[in-house]
Assembly symmetry: C2
Homo-oligomer: 199 residues x 2
DNA sequence: CCCTAAGACAAACACTTGTTTGCTTTGCGA
DNA sequence: TCGCAAAGCAAACAAGTGTTTGTCTTAGGG
C-alpha cells in the first residue's frame, strides 16, 4: 500500500522477480484477485510463500505491480501502432487493433485491466483506476480528432468502442477470427452506417 | 452441484430464503464470487453459517440460484419492454434500454451476469454460460430482424452492442445521465453514421 | 390437536488464507 | 577477497474459509 514498494530497487541478475510477475499475472488473470492465492503463485514459480515478501510488501502490492505492467504494455502497443499514422479514422483503427491484439493474445498482463475490478483491491483501487484512466485518455484524444457530425457525442463513441473491445475477452475464442480482424470490423461498424432503412 | 437443489421445495411463509438471496446477490455483486464469504452473507441476513445449508447444498448452489434469478429478471424486463413494438430498430432500442436499466439500477441480481465470470464457479460454469447464452440469443433475434446492409455482420453488431452495454457498469455513476438515455444514444450511434468524412 | 418436516442454532471440523519471524545462502560491488 | 544486502528457506502465526453434525424450535397440513 505504501507509495514506494520494495520493488524497483537494484535487483540481482538471477532474480526470480520476473517469473514471479509472470506467474502472478497468469494466476490473477485466470482466477481474479481473490481467487488467486499467494501459495498458488509462488508454487508455480517454485518458491515458498514467505519469499514473495522479499519483493512485495503485500498481495495488493504484487497485484498493483502486475496491473500497472499490463497497462504499460497496452499503452506501448497502442503507441507503437499509432506510429506515424495521420488519418484520424486510421489512427483510431490502429489503436483499436493494437488494444484488442494485446488484450486477447498479448499474454496475461493486459487482461487484468478488464478482468479485475479496482474495488476488489481496496487499498490500491485509486491507483488502479488512475492507471486505467490515463490509458483510456489516449483513446479520448484519438476520438476527439475524428470528423464526426455535431449530433454524435464523442464520449459516447469512446465508451461504446472501448466497451465493445473490453468485453471481447468474454466471448473470444482463439483460432477463429483474429483479434485484429475483429477490431477492424468494430471500427468499421462505427465509421459507417450499418442500416439501410429510415426511421 | 447436483441438478435439483434443496431449493424450490414447499417453503414456509416466514422463510428467510428471499432475504438470503437478496443479501447474497448484494455480496456477490460487490465482491465477486470469491470475494464474498458465506459468513458475510448470513451475517447481513442475521443468521448463522450453518443455517444457509438448509436452503442450499453449497456456496456454488447459492450462487447459481442468484445468478439465474438475475438472468430471469433481465429477460423479463426485456420482454416486457418489447411489448408490441414492431419496428425492428425500435425493438432493438427497447431491448437495450430495458437491459441497461435493469443492469444499472435494477438491483444487485442482474449485474452478476456481467460481474462474475463463470469460470470462477467451476462446477456450475456450464449452467451459468447456458443461462447467459439463452438470454443473449434474444438479442440475436432482434438484430437479425434489422434491415442491415449486406456488408455488415449481424453477429458483430450484436457483440458490439452487448459489449458496450455490459461494460457500462464499469463507468456508470448514478445521478448523471439515465441508463435509458445512454442505451438510446448507443443504439442511435449504431443506427446512423457518426462520421462525415470519406476514407 | 398433533406431529412431521422446514428451518434455525451452536459448535465444531479440516483446511486455506495472507503474513511474520529468524536464519541461511549467495551474487556482486568495493 | 571481503562484506553486505538481496533473496530465499523453514516454520509458524492468527484469522478466515466452506461445510458438517446434532439438537432444538416451530409453523402448518392432516
Amino acid at each position: 500500500m505504501s507509495a514506494a514498494t520494495l520493488r524497483d530497487r537494484p535487483q540481482r541478475a538471477d532474480s526470480r522477480l520476473p517469473r514471479v510477475l509472470d506467474c502472478a499475472a497468469r494466476a490473477f488473470r485466470r482466477n481474479g484477485y481473490h481467487g488467486a492465492s499467494i501459495r498458488e503463485i509462488v508454487r508455480s514459480v517454485g518458491m515458498l510463500p514467505g519469499s514473495l515478501y522479499c519483493h512485495f510488501a503485500s498481495k495488493e502490492d504484487l497485484f498493483v505491480a502486475v496491473y500497472e505492467e499490463g497497462v504499460r504494455r497496452l499503452r506501448a502497443a497502442v503507441e507503437r501502432a499509432l506510429g506515424h499514422e495521420t488519418d484520424p479514422w486510421r489512427r483510431v483503427q490502429a489503436a483499436c487493433v493494437a488494444h484488442l491484439e494485446t488484450l486477447l493474445d498479448g499474454g496475461d498482463y493486459a487482461q487484468l485491466m478488464v478482468r479485475v475490478q479496482p474495488r476488489d483491491v481496496p487499498q490500491a483501487a485509486r491507483r488502479l483506476v488512475a492507471a486505467r484512466d490515463g490509458y483510456e485518455r489516449l483513446f479520448g484524444e484519438l476520438i476527439d480528432a475524428l470528423p464526426l457530425g455535431a449530433a454524435v457525442s464523442r464520449s459516447d463513441v469512446r465508451l461504446m468502442l472501448l466497451g465493445a473491445l473490453n468485453w471481447a475477452p468474454t466471448w473470444y475464442r482463439p483460432g477463429k477470427r483474429s483479434p485484429g480482424d475483429i477490431a477492424r470490423a468494430f471500427v468499421e461498424i462505427m465509421r459507417t452506417e450499418p442500416h439501410g432503412a429510415p426511421r
